[in-house]
Symmetry: C2
Amino acid sequence: MVKLPEKTVERLSNYRRLLMRYQYLEKPYIFSRDLASLLKINPVHVRRDLMLIGVSGSHSKGYELRHLINQISQKLECNSGKNACIIGFSHAGRAILDILSLGNVPLNVKAIFDTSAKSINNTFNNVPCYSLEQIAAVVEKESITLAILSDMEEDPENYVALIGALGIKGIMNLTSTPLRLPDNIHLEEFDFVTSLIKLAYFSEE
Amino acid sequence: MVKLPEKTVERLSNYRRLLMRYQYLEKPYIFSRDLASLLKINPVHVRRDLMLIGVSGSHSKGYELRHLINQISQKLECNSGKNACIIGFSHAGRAILDILSLGNVPLNVKAIFDTSAKSINNTFNNVPCYSLEQIAAVVEKESITLAILSDMEEDPENYVALIGALGIKGIMNLTSTPLRLPDNIHLEEFDFVTSLIKLAYFSEE
């Protein structure tokens, strides 16, 4: 299947994030120009993105909110439910679990892996936490294809080769270490440090 | 002062993140082509970025690591030490505090604001936590100009007008709500949901 461009996916996700906020309005319609204005982007982008996923609005009323949310969710495969694990249960790992537990992203967290004796053999939001030694067995048993890497005592690079060998197809990297992955593993860098540096750098004195 | 372009800042931060990993090597030099290869980007980009900040390497040995880290840190004003607060002390807020406590980003966290009685009047990594009612007084007293917004019970939009009035110049938004800010406040969206959606969408079956 042909994938949408990365920037389009980002914008569509952002429209959806905003629309979900307004879905219970009395008059559940929105014009592309209002959506654009709320997100401070060009309305032409909005119309082009929505055309690309085959959604059309009414001239007089705009787009129906719930329909639009559903169409975006479908195109972004938000209901596909791939299986994921969280490796390293730091605060960042817990933040991810909080968000996944809200249920509006297309991932089922099946396992947490950590080095802390306090976490191992407990469950968090009904997700079991295992020791890192169990990773190969659990990933296979639970058909896990995605991994979210958060900081832990171990160097995350030690796990990259292992993770690749287990058939993991995508990694979201929340650690402070940039990762080098084989080309067949998709990498999402989610870099707190760069974002904090940009916050300080671009904010006026 | 003329600011560097956003993408350049992102790449420079990424070089720095990677270089810090190698700074204690026996032979602390790196070639631009090796830096590019480690980050899977075009070496021309690396050379252009480093030229832009006035760093030059040696033909035979490449760039000296510690010097390069220092130059990037200086250009990104990583030692400027602006004062920041964390509003909403969820797991995401705690993850940010963890990172800021490592001390290699240009922010001093002076205060945490939260609604939970368990957190208020405690300190975390030596940072005091206040109730949201105290925000105006504390922001003024501590000369805070940056805010990191993480999820809490209150709707973050309720705070945007207040934060603007307090003279905050930049906000990093970790909440699930997209924010609309006045033009004089810099916004860094740090959107967990979109990143998770991209992880699932772009990873192969």
